[in-house]
């Protein structure tokens, strides 16, 4: 059945690829983005699709959200702010907390299913060696701003379950892990690999936070979209939290080596280590993060297909093929001195 779908954060990495996939499957897509993180260039390929309607607006604009969500069957709520350590502490909270509240209210009015994009960041400093959906969620001190994003996502998940309980809303929660892929927006949001590729392409040292031994999972966008479509199509996902990622994980230093090699720089890799204390008082980075994907596998039949090296190779190719445009939209990432997320 063709559905009318609202995607918030449609110009972001996941949003834009998801919008494209849903349009290709014949659904009607309404997209919202304020371009605070997402890039217009990401949605240009389907901007003129007659089944796509775009609204350049903030999800905090309640009246507008009520308007654009009228009659939708599903809301995919991907819009979020991240990384308050770069400032915008209050805005991060507002977008994630109030924004989710507003979109849930829209879902209630439209009687729409609600799919919420959460993150493996909610596991925080979790003690389990591999995080399953049942793992404890461990946050550091509230005075450390870094934890505001994770706390706001945990809060968002609770809002979803609270709305399900109070109003009978159908909600599904996806905890994405380190999704990367073609995007024109090289914010700190899109992860370390993009900034590493940008650095390697300009033969600048790759900036690494801490000692770079912290490990992270990396999930290629086509896998993340595959999983999201399964959640979208399957009633099994209702009322569930589902990890969506890949077992591919590596340390930040090894990621830098991989990127350097794939870019093919003709000299030894250069890494520039930046102590955490340079950018935030009391900053803490989770040491390792491995996420268990069995639930998505057994419940939805999802299995990540793109290997790490293959995915990174495609990402490097994407950069090469679109370098001028990427450089034009993200000049700061190609200059020395920028401190990316790692």
């Amino acid at each position: 059945m063709k559905k009318k779908v609202l995607i918030t954060g449609v110009a972001g990495l996941i949003g834009s690829h998801l919008g494209k996939a849903l349009l290709e499957s014949g659904h009607e897509v309404i997209g919202v983005d304020d371009f605070s993180q997402g890039a217009r260039a990401n949605i240009v390929p389907f901007l003129n699709d007659e089944r796509f309607r775009f609204h350049h607006d903030s999800i905090l604009n309640v009246d507008r959200m009520n308007e654009v969500s009228e009659g939708v069957n599903v809301i995919l709520h991907l819009a979020a702010q991240k990384i308050p350590r770069y400032g915008g502490y209050l805005r991060t909270l507002d977008v994630n907390v109030k924004g989710t509240d507003i979109m849930l209210e829209c879902a209630r009015r439209a009687n729409a299913r609600f799919i919420f994009a959460s993150t493996d960041d909610v596991y925080g400093k979790g003690v389990d060696p591999v995080f399953t959906e049942e793992s404890g969620l461990v946050l550091g001190e509230s005075r450390v701003h870094r934890w505001a994003a994770a706390a706001s996502k945990i809060y968002g998940e609770h809002l979803c379950f609270g709305s399900a309980e109070k109003y009978g809303l159908a909600v599904a929660i996806i905890r994405y892990s380190g999704v990367y892929g073609p995007t024109y927006q090289l914010s700190k949001l899109s992860g370390a690999q993009d900034l590493f590729i940008a650095a390697a392409l300009s033969e600048r040292p790759i900036p690494i936070h801490g000692d770079g031994s912290q490990t992270r999972p990396f999930t290629y966008i086509s896998d993340a979209i595959d999983a999201t479509l399964r959640v979208f199509e399957s009633p099994y996902a209702d009322g569930e939290v589902i990890n969506v990622g890949s077992s591919a994980q590596l340390s930040i230093v090894n990621l830098a080596y991989l990127v350097w090699r794939l870019v093919g720089v003709q000299k030894k890799p250069q890494l520039h280590f930046i102590p955490y204390t340079d950018f935030s008082r009391l900053y803490e980075d989770p040491r390792q993060r491995r996420v268990d994907g069995s639930k998505a596998n057994y419940l939805l039949g999802y299995r990540p297909r793109v290997g790490l090296e293959e995915g990174m190779q495609m990402q490097v190719q994407w950069f090469r093929d679109h370098l001028d445009k990427i450089r034009e939209l993200n000049p700061e990432c190609f200059q020395a001195g920028e401190a990316p997320k790692s």
Binding site: L93, S142, G162
Partner: protein
């Protein structure tokens, strides 16, 4: 709080929507010239902003809780919106904010006792008992964001098991409330789980003392403090102690399985480490558990209606 502040000569504007409390607790101040009571909801931003005019400190204690009995959504939204309403008022009125967080934010952290730098260890998000802790963690982040972005001085106080005269006499007031009620009525005390979970209980005058110190200490801005009594007791021991102090015979206990709450997780042990409040604020709890419980039982006896079908 009201009594202590009025005694010290402060003017008090008191706000409550009386959803979980009773005017009986503040009646005695109604004739006091320095005291004003307004029945209002903390969610009414305009009203809070208006009432905050000229206030040097906003003490924000209003909250909603016990999501395990339903209302997870209300717990989440009322607490966050309420705290924001207070923070906005403080920003406009250039007031300080001292607000109530909770020991529940430490969740399942197994490392005891809890210092303020301990990790906040939460369970699954589909277990609604965590909604209260999560709402308070959000409150803390909102407060620190207001301090950072607007310069509102904020202090978060993590209370450990407050009790005393004036407490809500249902589960809202905590286990001691319902144990006392049961003991006074000679009915079985309902204990959740096996009763071996431990808690710390803090007499209301000690909490009030801590709040006052935080309100007026120049060192408290931007800080989190545990406020609690470090004495640890199991829930089962608490129930039998209350039964004894109430002057009853053999304790009647009824164990209630957690399964009756749906998907649930209890916090096993909860004890504060209070060196920070000691060092920064000179805070020292003074009232022991037996002494505090005796006063509380006496008070609760005086306000309990033992008539037919009353609660």
């Amino acid at each position: 709080m009201c009594g202590a502040l009025l005694e010290k000569g402060y003017e008090v504007c008191a706000v409550d929507n009386l959803s979980q409390s009773t005017p009986r607790n503040i009646e005695k101040y109604f004739n006091c010239r320095e005291f004003e009571f307004v029945q209002e909801d903390v969610l009414n931003e305009a009203a809070i902003r208006h009432l905050a005019k000229g206030a040097t400190v906003l003490v924000h204690l209003a909250a909603f809780k016990i999501p395990r009995y339903g209302n997870a959504l209300d717990t989440l939204t009322i607490n966050v919106h309420g705290t924001e309403s207070v923070l906005r008022a403080a920003r406009e009125r250039k007031s300080r904010v001292v607000f109530a967080s909770t020991s529940d934010v430490y969740g399942k952290n197994p490392h005891l006792p809890f210092t303020e730098t301990h990790d906040l260890y939460l369970g699954e998000t589909n277990v609604k008992r965590w909604a209260y802790a999560v709402s308070k963690i959000m409150d803390e982040h909102y407060a620190f964001a207001y301090q950072q972005e607007y310069g509102v001085p904020v202090t978060a106080l993590r209370f450990f098991g407050g009790y005393g005269p004036g407490q809500n006499t249902t589960w809202w007031g905590g286990p001691q409330s319902v144990f006392i009620d049961a003991a006074l009525r000679d009915q079985p005390m309902e204990i959740h789980g096996d009763g071996q979970q431990t808690r710390s209980f803090t007499y209301v005058s000690d909490h009030v003392d801590g709040i006052l110190r935080a309100m007026f200490s120049p060192k408290a801005a931007g800080e989190i403090f545990n406020l609690g009594n470090v004495h640890e007791i199991s829930i089962l021991d608490l129930s039998t102690l209350i039964w004894r102090l109430a002057g009853k015979g053999q304790p009647k206990v009824k164990l209630v399985s957690y399964q009756t709450f749906g998907k649930y997780e209890d916090v096993r042990n909860r004890v504060p480490e209070i060196s920070k409040a000691r060092m920064f604020l000179g805070f020292e709890p003074k009232v022991g558990l037996e002494e505090g419980l005796l006063k509380t039982i006496e008070w609760q006896r005086s306000v309990t209606n033992f008539g037919e079908g009353q609660s």
